[in-house]
């Protein structure tokens, strides 16, 4: 009985987490677009990083069979983000090389 209650509490928290991740993402978009004078490339980087951190929080909090999808999604997002940052770094270095 008690085990069931713990499981159900975990399930509820997990659902709330997913909802909050998306709510925070939408709020972050609103925050960055509030005045329309931000630099768009920087905004995309902030949003992607924020989303990654939120997903990471989920992946490291919920363990067990039913929550594996969160870990997979985080791993995929991490790979995409890292290659994206790598590409950005490469492009900046390339830009510097052509600056002279």
């Amino acid at each position: 009985m008690e085990e069931n209650e713990v499981q159900s509490n975990k399930q509820k928290n997990s659902n709330l987490s997913v909802a909050l991740i998306f709510a925070n993402l939408i709020l972050a978009v609103l925050f960055f677009s509030a005045t329309g004078v931000e630099k768009s490339e920087e905004t995309v980087i902030y949003l992607a990083t924020g989303f990654l951190v939120l997903q990471g929080g989920y992946a490291f909090t919920y363990h067990g069979k039913g929550y594996r999808v969160g870990k997979w999604l985080f791993a995929i997002a991490l790979v995409i983000a890292l290659s994206f940052y790598g590409l950005m770094w490469y492009a900046t270095q390339l830009g510097k090389a052509f600056a002279h």
């Binding site: 928290n13 709330l16 991740i21 925050f31 005045t35 909090t61």
Partner: protein
């Protein structure tokens, strides 16, 4: 349900984001911003070299630029506003910073003029009510707004108009006293004497214009009270749209 620490963190972040957004909107003062375009003009017979020309608004981050392309190319005409375009909405201008050297007088002028903010605000509000806002080009989608035109004539006389559809109102007439430039104000690649500086900055002025100005062209013209014919020239275009 007992909310775990992760969700508490997420909720705290959401609250921060909402507070941050509200703060940003209040600091930006969306409701006190207007779309407008600004330009400067001189009579053809009075070429000037602009050292500084911009508006100061209540927000130090505003880029309240004034289109000075034609004046810089010495092909401005009296009343010529150029191509009206808008960028981000700006707070209304409160001060006009002007610093220039005049070719025909071989004099330097520099001053920061206060603009009548209440009058400007009133004109903007009434123009919006009376459908007098004019179309301003903006990448993405054009916007409706008004146009500031700064006019500079000999003897340090400055006029500022506010223009729209069937609207041209003088909002400022002022006179700037000539000032001897400091040596660091005559720097063009290297420090120059006054005559060398004037020769350098007016190098692009065509010889025919120089000769005409020397022979006293327009010497007694009173541009300040000359109508610009702005409304006459544009009314057909306005009528065809609406």
């Amino acid at each position: 349900m007992k909310i775990n620490i992760l969700n508490k963190g997420y909720i705290a972040l959401a609250i921060l984001l909402v507070a941050g957004t509200i703060y940003k909107i209040i600091a930006y003062k969306t409701w006190a911003r207007y779309d407008y375009y600004s330009a400067i003009c001189t009579p053809q017979s009075y070429p000037i070299y602009l050292q500084a020309c911009y508006f100061i608004t209540a927000d130090a981050d505003d880029l309240a630029w004034i289109n000075d392309e034609k004046v810089n190319d010495f092909r401005s005409e009296w009343g010529d506003e150029g191509f009206p375009e808008a960028r981000d909405p700006l707070r209304l201008p409160e001060k006009l910073v002007l610093k220039y050297a005049a070719y025909s007088e071989q004099k330097f002028y520099s001053d920061t003029l206060s603009l009548p903010v209440d009058v400007i605000q009133k004109v903007f509000k009434e123009a919006a009510k009376k459908n007098q806002l004019d179309e301003l080009f903006k990448s993405g989608q054009n916007v409706k707004g008004l146009k500031f035109l700064v006019g500079v004539v000999p003897d340090g006389q400055v006029v500022v108009w506010l223009r729209g559809r069937f609207l041209e109102q003088v909002i400022l007439k002022a006179k700037i006293a000539p000032k001897e430039p400091r040596s660091d104000e005559m720097y063009f690649e290297k420090p120059l004497s006054k005559s060398a500086y004037l020769n350098t900055v007016f190098e692009g002025l065509s010889d025919s214009l120089k000769t005409k100005i020397k022979s006293g062209w327009d010497q007694h013209a009173n541009y300040l009270d000359t109508p610009t014919h702005y409304i006459d020239q544009n009314k057909d275009g306005w009528k065809s749209i609406h």
